[in-house]
């Protein structure tokens, strides 16, 4: 009687311990997955900020750059394409084109010393550099979080829990175009 009682207590204690461990691993996985989702939404926030910045930039620069209509058109078109994108792949492509157009614009600016001396434009240029960097760092952070999450879902004790509750592997955010691989080289005097 007493031995069976002890045995059952031990078994219950062990089961209880296992349940505790599973719960803590489950919670850690949820935390990591939320961080991945949050990092993804950060990228969106920064892309929106880039869209908001462009009309101002174009307005300020247009007065100085009379002969660059094509450059402005490319930027405006890429912006509306990016804003109207429905799917993730569409958005990725459009954002890639927008980044290309902006980096081309920044190269052309070098030919307009008056524009480069304009205080408003300098402030906008800093905002644009900041936004491009924020997009790049948001992406970097997303990939970091995906790495931590994927590592956890594949390593031993937590991989069992991940399998039980369908924590699937996430994909890294790969850059789309060659130009996207490098943030536009913006120089500021």
């Amino acid at each position: 009687m007493t031995t069976t009682a002890i045995a059952s207590i031990v078994i219950f204690a062990l089961l209880f311990l296992i349940v505790l461990v599973v719960i803590s691993i489950y919670n850690a996985l949820v935390r990591l997955r939320n961080q991945v989702d949050n990092a993804w939404s950060q990228i969106d926030v920064q892309l929106k900020r880039r869209h908001d910045l462009i009309p101002n930039l174009v307005e300020t620069a247009r007065g100085y750059m009379k002969h660059e209509r094509e450059t402005f058109e490319a930027i405006t078109k890429a912006r509306s394409a990016a804003m109207g994108a429905r799917t993730v792949s569409e958005a990725g492509q459009a954002e890639g084109q927008l980044a290309d157009a902006l980096s081309k614009f920044m190269l052309v600016v070098e030919n307009y010393p008056d524009l480069k001396a304009n205080q408003n434009f300098l402030a906008l240029q800093e905002e644009l550099t900041g936004t491009e960097n924020k997009i790049a760092f948001a992406r970097q952070n997303y990939n970091d979080q995906v790495l931590f999450y994927n590592n956890r879902t594949q390593m031993f004790p937590s991989s069992v829990v991940a399998g039980m509750f369908a924590f699937t592997k996430r994909d890294f955010f790969e850059v789309e175009t060659a130009a996207e691989r490098e943030a536009p080289k913006v120089s500021f005097a």
Binding site: Q35, N38, A39, Q42, Q46, Q119, A123, E126, E127, T129, G130, N133, K134, F137, A138, Q140, N141, D144, Q145, L147, F148, N151, E182, A183, K185, V186, S187, F188
Partner: protein, 413 residues
């Protein structure tokens, strides 16, 4: 990353416990020496009370005290947009839950520090000299170093440990003053009480004096050893966040060779916070290897520049092993398998500007912090209007044009 934070937290708690033990030992020995056999408990009581009080103060408002003591002033986005952008970039790269509060210290010596309770309530302070001298990549490196302190949870523990050190020094100083004045009845009552007890009392008194001399030294060594390791770790973190170790390396080089006089508002309690030791060579202190709060700056630069393979913690640990013979600061648990490529420079290599122009920039930043308004006249002259200038318009001293002062652009109250 999570593992690194855990290892760092463990070390910090260990430091706090060791500090508390030093404080308690000091309390017991001094209590025994001053009051007698029953004085041990009193000493413990006082030591615990002092420890609790100091911990409470530093938890509730330690960051505000440190910021005020350093002369740091909160600034708005308009004062220095680039600083705000760079801090936000690093906040995003580090995945912090909230934007740190930003402060500027009006001092031409380039330096920076971070403080606060947690990543949710952190502050970053940089000097005007730093903003004037560094280019964007370098500023990013420095901000990333401070962001790593926040991310690694260094900020709270440095504050707490600093307060603990202050407590140990305070108690031993009170003991010495009491002893020399004889007002605490030290060693007199007992020599007349009994002959046998007098001998033991003398031994305890000698031990107490030794403890009072050694305890602050021990506490300082413990504090400094850990704070140096944290500097290396924050450098590693900065390289990983920016993916560009050269930015921080070049910033450290500029800070080390800067001609400006040393930071005016730095003291012993705040010195370990800064990215680079704010005290320049003071001549008499030559125990630098033992008591310095910061690793030698040339070594830090050399390690960062040796990171040719990538920008991960593992790459930093490898570079560290190749350069320095001290114990590797990166805990093995932090080293996860990851490929972290180094990116290209974004800012122009180095602005070879004249020191005069840099000094003017630093002056402008300091004026903005002080609430000056800036007007650019049509003739190209930049007019700096002090905050207490109340007239509605100002006349340009070069071309005699009258410029209206926009009321919206007024500085902080």
């Amino acid at each position: 990353m999570w593992e690194l934070i855990q290892a760092n937290k463990r070390d910090s708690v260990l430091l706090m416990v060791l500090m508390a033990l030093v404080l308690l030992t000091l309390g017991v020995v001094i209590g025994l020496a001053v009051v007698g056999p029953q004085g041990g408990l009193i000493g413990v009581g006082i030591a615990v009370a002092v420890w609790l009080l100091l911990t409470l103060i530093s938890f509730s408002s330690g960051d505000q005290i440190l910021l005020a003591a350093s002369g740091a002033r909160p600034v708005t986005h308009e004062v220095h947009p680039q600083l705000f952008n760079v801090v936000e970039e690093m906040k995003i790269a580090a995945g912090l839950p909230a934007m740190p509060k930003i402060y500027i210290i009006n001092d031409p010596a380039p330096n920076a520090f971070a403080t606060g309770r947690s990543p949710k309530s952190a502050s970053i302070a940089v000097t005007a000299g730093l903003l004037g001298r560094l280019n964007r990549d370098e500023l990013q490196g420095v901000v990333a170093h401070e962001m790593s302190h926040i991310l690694h949870r260094d900020i709270l523990y440095v504050t707490l440990a600093g307060v603990m050190l202050g407590g140990v020094v305070l108690i031993s100083q009170i003991f010495f003053r009491g002893m020399f004045r004889g007002s605490l009845g030290f060693n007199r009552r007992y020599s007349s009480d009994s002959r046998g007890g007098g001998q033991a009392q003398l031994v305890i008194a000698v031990v107490a004096v030794l403890a009072a001399i050694l305890a602050p030294l021990m506490a300082r060594l413990l504090y400094f050893a850990l704070s140096r390791r944290r500097e290396y770790l924050a450098d590693a973190g900065a390289a990983r966040l920016t993916r560009y170790p050269e930015g921080l390396a070049s910033a450290l080089e500029k800070i080390a060779t800067d001609p400006a006089p040393q930071l005016a508002a730095a003291n012993d309690a705040t010195a370990p916070l800064y990215i680079v030791n704010p005290f320049k060579k003071r001549g008499k202190m030559d125990l630098s290897a033992w008591t310095s709060t910061h690793p030698p700056i040339a070594e830090r630069i050399h390690i960062l520049r040796s990171m040719s393979q990538g920008a991960s913690y593992k790459d930093y640990a490898q570079a560290f092993a190749a350069v320095s013979r001290s114990r590797n600061p990166v805990p093995l648990a932090a080293i996860t398998k990851e490929q972290v490529a180094i990116r290209q420079a974004q800012a122009e290599p180095t602005r070879q500007e004249k020191t005069q122009k840099q000094a003017r920039q630093i002056g402008d930043i300091m004026r903005k912090v002080n609430g000056f308004r800036f007007l650019t006249c049509a003739c190209g002259l930049k007019i700096k209007v002090p905050p207490d200038f109340k007239a509605p318009a100002v006349e340009c001293p070069r071309c005699r044009r009258t410029l209206p002062l926009a009321t919206a652009a007024s500085g902080p109250a």
